[in-house]
């Protein structure tokens, strides 16, 4: 039977751990709410940019634009969004798993794999893998990324694509389906595409003036659309990170509770055993005196 002192010390330490995990759970919950709100606000932007692009596709041959040209894939670039901090369940490992699997497949198909990683967790991992050529690494942008944060990523991927250094760009991020379901997915960024579901429904742009030129406008709209895609992926990932952290911290708190219950029980038993033993000793002594 462990001594009561040791049991009490362990119980105290588990109690303070519970306090920390509980606090982390609450912090993650409020950060998650904000991130999901902001992610939703980007939707109207995306819709407006997409609408404009599908209308542009009626007046110009979009396929001739360098960012829309499909090429045979020899080099594939992955942009993966991970976090700087751990303790978020399988958040980072899901993305890393997805990336390594894709890289293995590419190796079989004789495709060179390159990567741009956001978040220190992912960077640390990828540095150790020789098969993946790490082009750039960014620390995570915190809970409130700005348009300025994602611009370097945007310009580097479009430059790489236009210079034909990469032939395909995939964005790996975590979709925030709900507070309990987050899925690591891959989204194809480049070559860019326009999905015109119903070409007749798209209003034509025939009598519209373009300033300074239709190509400049197309460049700009494409950039907007790529930007909003990265932006939304980033926010969905942030929301996912926080909900996964919230869930894993909730589990940790529950475990700590169970542990505290067990330790309290063991402590009480030990204390009672001590008392019983002391009484037995006293009565035993008294008995012997007779």
């Amino acid at each position: 039977m462990a001594s009561t002192q040791i049991l009490q010390r362990r119980r105290k330490s588990v109690q303070s751990t519970r306090q920390i995990t509980k606090a982390m759970e609450l912090v993650a919950a409020s950060k998650m709410r904000r991130a999901t709100e902001v992610a939703q606000q980007g939707r109207s932007y995306r819709k407006a940019a997409h609408e404009l692009l599908s209308r542009l596709s009626t007046v110009t041959d979009i396929v001739d634009h360098p960012l829309y040209t499909k090429r045979e894939v020899k080099t594939r670039l992955y942009v993966a969004i991970t976090s700087d901090r751990g303790l978020a369940g399988a958040y980072n490992s899901n993305i890393i798993k997805l990336l390594t699997k894709a890289a293995q497949q590419d190796q079989k198909d004789n495709i060179t794999t390159k990567a741009i990683i956001i978040g220190n967790r992912g960077v640390q991992f990828i540095k150790r893998i020789d098969a993946i050529d790490l082009l750039a690494a960014f620390p995570s942008f915190g809970d409130h990324p700005t348009a300025n944060d994602i611009r370097p990523i945007l310009t580097s991927i479009s430059e790489l694509y236009e210079n034909k250094e990469v032939d395909d760009v995939q964005l790996l991020y975590t979709v925030h389906q709900s507070n309990i379901a987050q899925v690591a997915t891959s989204l194809s960024l480049l070559p860019a595409r326009v999905d015109v579901s119903d070409p007749d429904a798209v209003e034509s742009l025939n009598d519209v003036t373009f300033e300074p030129s239709i190509t400049a406008v197309l460049d700009n709209v494409t950039e907007r659309l790529l930007e909003v895609q990265i932006w939304q992926a980033m926010l969905e990932s942030i929301a996912s990170e926080h909900s996964m952290r919230m869930l894993s911290m909730k589990n940790a708190t529950d475990n700590a509770n169970d542990l505290i219950d067990d330790l309290t029980l063991a402590f009480n038993t030990a204390r009672q055993a001590n008392i019983t033993q002391e009484i037995a000793e006293v009565t035993g002594g008294a008995e012997a005196m007779k």
Binding site: Q41, S44, A48, L52, A147, N148, V208, V217, V221, E227
Partner: protein, 140 residues
Amino acid sequence: MIHFTLYSLDGVKFDDQVYEVIIPTLDGIIGVLPGHMPLISVATDGVILVRRTATERDDQRDVFAISGGTVQVENDQLRVLVDEADSADSLNEKEVQDAYERAKNLKANAKDHVSLQNAQAMMDRHAVRLQVASMKRRKK
């Protein structure tokens, strides 16, 4: 009246009927009034000025600092898509001034072309925001 909607990455910043909007574009500053010809253009970093009614004075106009985007005018509908739009009310002149100084420092200490360019872009952006923030002061 024209309907003006200002979309930015973090939400719709303006959505209302207005009389006149002044927008900086690649080809110069344009003013959009009711009955404007259909136009699609590229916006640059600068200041958007919104006059809600014909009688509104210059210093009563709504002001937004924007960084690059797309402008679309059609059937008295004006849609502007930008990365970032800051209204005068959301900017603190002191903070923006500090940010501007920081960008200036960065530019002075830039070692290569890339960081110089980045610092210059940042400086331009903050200069616009500073302009907007000081407009707010004059209004009071």
